[in-house]
Point group: C2
Chain length 409, copies 2
């Protein structure tokens, strides 16, 4: 069955070690790790010279296009560790009505559990299973918790999920429906994270917070790998990415370096635009201040819950990628985000999530400010299905027994 096309047989993997993203200190692979001794994320390193001999672009192109086609660049050693819910390659969709001809949306809402969180979590859960973890806890604004619940349930791992008490209703409910225990907390995601950290220190569970284990980033980097393959082994001029914890942005940046090391792409990079909400823009502030680390954003508020992250442990990695790329961190107002969601639906028939809408608003701002040209090929990441978020009711009623003149409909 094509179903298991990438999941059977030998799985050569070329992981050599892990290293601290701040100090470069080496850590052993195949051992359970959280943050480095310096309290920073660990990055997985591969022997890309050998990997490049084992895999050609041509061979890759004959495989089914799901996430597991990239197995030589992923950390999982044993196919048996993988719990899959069908991690398809997400489509690229032009939105000429709401944006311009060169603008395409990568629609991550088509992944399992309806968001890009599936990429990171399917990888992290597989590695947790491989390394013997039996209980996981996580703070979440919603979508990550849903993905964790689904995959952990499938892997037979128990999960406890903590989310802010104003997390979208559908998220809270789907987490429980997919087998996790879920708690609403009177605090923001970093305060939920503090509770998870406390329980982890007590030995109650393994901490799956963003970037606090090394493998979600490896899953998320497939967004970059996939994009390069979909565009015929080149990259777009600009990428607009909704940035909360920033795993995906960091992951894509890592992916591009790995592809270049393999000789599959050149040294050109897209301008990376980290998109945040005006009501929670710690990365934008740090970018504007020219500093390497971001301060916690107090009183964080935005309708785009997925990017309501006051403090990101990978802040310096996000800022470094944005700066190296010649991009920017951009804050957009909620009103512009809502207008973008509305426009894209009504003009292009594509329902974005609020965070996806924020990337469209940011693209508009970037064009208006002259940071990019309207004709530049730009990719916007719609990180989740728009169906998870409240929509306004524009319906009218019709009485079957007293029909009006139908020409007025």
């Amino acid at each position: 069955m094509a179903l298991t096309g990438n999941l059977v047989g030998e799985r050569p993997t070329f992981v050599t070690h892990l290293e601290c993203s701040l100090t470069g200190e080496r850590y052993e692979a195949d051992t359970l790790h959280g943050l480095s001794a310096a309290g920073r994320p660990l990055l997985v390193r591969y022997d890309l010279a050998v990997a490049g001999k084992a895999l050609s672009r041509g061979a890759l192109e004959t495989r089914p296009t799901d996430l597991w086609r990239w197995r030589e660049l992923l950390p999982v050693r044993h196919a048996a560790s993988i719990v899959s819910l069908g991690e398809i390659e997400t489509p690229l969709i032009p939105i000429p009505g709401a944006a311009a001809r060169g603008v395409i949306v990568k629609d991550e809402g088509r992944l399992p559990t309806g968001s890009f969180k599936a990429r990171g979590l399917v990888m992290a859960v597989a590695m947790a299973k491989e390394l013997g973890v039996t209980r996981i806890a996580m703070p979440t604004n919603g979508n990550a918790g849903a993905a964790l619940a689904a995959y952990a349930t499938r892997a037979g791992i128990e999960t406890v999920v903590l989310c802010p008490d104003d997390t979208p209703e559908i998220n809270v409910r789907e987490i429980a429906a997919q087998g996790a225990r879920v708690y609403r907390v009177n605090g923001l995601i970093d305060e939920c994270g503090a509770i998870v950290g406390k329980g982890a220190a007590e030995g109650l569970w393994f901490d799956f917070s963003t970037l606090k284990e090394p493998y979600r980033i490896e899953g998320k980097k497939t967004m970059g790998l996939e994009l390069a393959a979909q565009l015929g082994w080149r990259l777009p001029k600009a990428i607009f990415y909704p940035t909360g914890g920033g795993t995906g942005l960091i992951g894509m940046w890592k992916a591009f370096d790995e592809l270049e090391a393999l000789g599959w792409i050149g040294s050109e990079r897209p301008k990376m635009f980290a998109v945040q909400a005006s009501g929670c823009a710690p990365i934008v502030k740090a970018w504007e201040d020219g500093v390497e680390h971001a301060e916690r954003w107090e009183d964080a508020q935005t309708i785009a819950m997925g990017i309501r992250v006051p403090k990101a442990v990978g802040d310096f990695l996000i800022l470094r990628a944005v700066r190296e790329s010649g991009g920017r961190a951009i804050a957009v107002d909620d009103a512009d985000t809502l207008a973008a969601v509305d426009d894209c639906g009504r003009r292009d028939g594509l329902l974005l999530c609020p965070e996806g809408g924020a990337t469209l608003a940011a693209w508009r701002k970037a064009v208006a400010e002259g940071w990019i040209d309207e004709g530049d090929e730009a990719v916007l990441f719609n990180c989740a299905t728009g169906l998870k978020y409240p929509l306004a009711d524009f319906s009218q009623t019709l009485d079957k027994n007293e029909l009006p003149d139908l020409a007025t409909l």
Copy 2:
């Protein structure tokens, strides 16, 4: 770009004519048609002998896997008619927890607008555009209206959508968000259909009701084509299909015949199980009564809105396929449907829609009654994302200022 891999260049199509599904009367292709003179659905016919020379299985397997890879077996003549939102091949997902090892779910919730309706509507809208339609109306239980709205908006065609006033809230709202005008009617889908028919007779719009135009079925048949390709050019032992209007079941049956005519599969067929709800089971009643047409089901009630269809214009086609296949029409209680949705989420991490849950409930009934063996390879169609439907709230609350012993979480 792989994005347009199947949408560029010449599009050979092999349509010869249309024919009445009841009388076999011929109708001209490339002309706008509704029902046949006998008031029955029209079926699109192809010169499969010539198509089989133009396309080999090998050549097909080199194409991107989206719906448009099947272009030689589809009616669209010009790539410019196609409005795409990324009609990916939907994944096959085993559910060993809630069912058995041989049972796989085809997860149609990954399609644009979150349901299998995208298959039929992307095709019907492309043909409407090709044939010059500028205004469309449709009765819907929700998902079809959402797919129509999205594609028609993209195609620049105006749409009016009528739905029962108890249609799921998210559906009503997404239809408007994707650019259609939507009306809630105090009646069931066939009563909405009567209003659409009245307006069509007045020349106000083209009638897009299920099977009342010939092309939705051509889009839906790709479920059958895709399944055969995914399973390595063989078919499963049984297919469980949630059956309202039945377009997909009829379409798959047609697909299997076309694949056999091409010599790509043999004469074996799956047992086709048409799944309905006990509260609205006109096809089941007709099947049990041994008659060819179904009577309207009065006081239709079920939580599975998508199959709350009291009267289907293609009833005889559904019944014919089910009987020829050696399958059955099965009615399941809502309680069993809900239990199936719950089980699949909690055991396999996969959130089914109610109609998808009904197919799992029907599979369980079929095993219990001995209609199939538990070990038989069976495919269940989850026709939409489970995220569109209300879920129960199983969350608990946690006060960050008065944390309990975390070991109790």
